[in-house]
Symmetry: C2
Amino acid sequence: MKCGLVAADGAVLHRETRPTPRVVVDARGGGRAVLEALLETVVELGQKAAADGHRVRAVGVVVPGIINAESGIVSAENLAWAGTPVLAELKAAIGDQHVILAHDVRAGGYAELRQGALIGTTNSLFLPLGTGIAAAMVVDGSLVSGDGYAGELGHTRFVNGEAAELCACGQWGCLETVASAAALARRYGVRSGRVVDGAREVLELLAQGDPDAEAVWKEALAALVDALVMYTTLVAPTRIAIGGGLVGAGETLLAPLREGVAARLTFQRKPEIVAAVLGEEAGCLGAALMAWDSITDESGEQTV
Amino acid sequence: MKCGLVAADGAVLHRETRPTPRVVVDARGGGRAVLEALLETVVELGQKAAADGHRVRAVGVVVPGIINAESGIVSAENLAWAGTPVLAELKAAIGDQHVILAHDVRAGGYAELRQGALIGTTNSLFLPLGTGIAAAMVVDGSLVSGDGYAGELGHTRFVNGEAAELCACGQWGCLETVASAAALARRYGVRSGRVVDGAREVLELLAQGDPDAEAVWKEALAALVDALVMYTTLVAPTRIAIGGGLVGAGETLLAPLREGVAARLTFQRKPEIVAAVLGEEAGCLGAALMAWDSITDESGEQTV
């Protein structure tokens, strides 16, 4: 869990990382443990802010999953939350403070839009390629919510037929089964018979000319090009910022994406494809910026 | 060209249809003839309004193609317009009247949202299946523009490999090459060796159990299901209104779309799939409603 104290101008005054409790999905207590750790973190950060002489003006909490921003109810399989009233629990824990609850990837997109690679855009996309793939869509100047459901580009289908793999979401051939960091490592292992430590190792093998690494990388690129062409045709972004662990590959990733997309587009507006700039801090910073932007009186004091 | 006079409450006071001049795309004058006919129509409707004792408060003009709403410049291949300053020409023709220029399908979506099948939705889709396929996307309460480029669902790819056909847009395997009314007629002709008069005849043959009609229909349905599942995963509509000529097929179209989409969705929010209700008038009505909504003082007088 990444957390921090952020001033009104976006300056990070304090940051820390805390372990997420191991979730035992089968056990009913798993989701509760994560929630308790979240509440404890928010309370303790408030205490730290007070000790440092700051007044907390608003609290921004971002989580994965499907978030109903109004009711504050969250379902997130990997946290063992199913209809969990996260916002109500937060309010019970920290009293009458102003709290914003949002989606982690969309918060990352918010941060990239406000202070990162998407500054100045009104139609753009933040696409972190990490363990999973979700997207933050900026459309006509606003971040799309879709009542918490929108942006699941990683779960649109880009592989058909026998090659399609079953995704954790229950669908077949999702982008995420081919082009996420987790998929790269898994597919390299299946293809080569060798277990790797993660996508980072696949990228190292790719740099060394390993043919299995090249094969799974090419398939990932092809699916990503398909996804970006589809997104461009439907939503017309002027800029696409790729984030997540895979963007560590730099031009090895970005150059073929640019070439592949440019070769496919005909009448569409051509987007710039760039690297996101805020890295792992994007979600945390976005949470704070969303919290700040949700209060009207920005008097320059600190928020979590 | 469909046109009319519409009161502030959406009541259609007068409607008429005028022929679009035949466009000779090779000849430079083709686009000009269409533009002249458009200007003449707007001027004459204004005269008719005045003769009937109405004051025109605003003019809404909707056209196909890629429309920059701010500059009023339009590119539309089938009208032989390429960077044509439609808004400036309109303003020169009718003086200082308030004019709105918009996309025809998005205007149809606007009408369905205000007075039709999408009333009360904040995330929804209007998808007319006509000669071509374009979409009007309602996201978080607003109709998406994407600077005039968004909504080209008909030009996202849903057929891969050797079966993919070249689309008029220059891409391969677009939804429009399989599931538009024009595609149904063309594909039936290729498959059966018999020329048909249009999609309507294919639907009649389908009702009679013609196996070639069944084959092209099934392929169209499969591509549409793919497209709707993708759209639902990415943008999370609560309702999808199918319009255009093909919706004349009624439950023959809608029932398999509902079943196909429901069978594919897992974690996504399930959209209602319904028929659009405003028919061919949607674009014309939407133009008027957009024009009315663009002026703040709605005093109840008539607009074109």
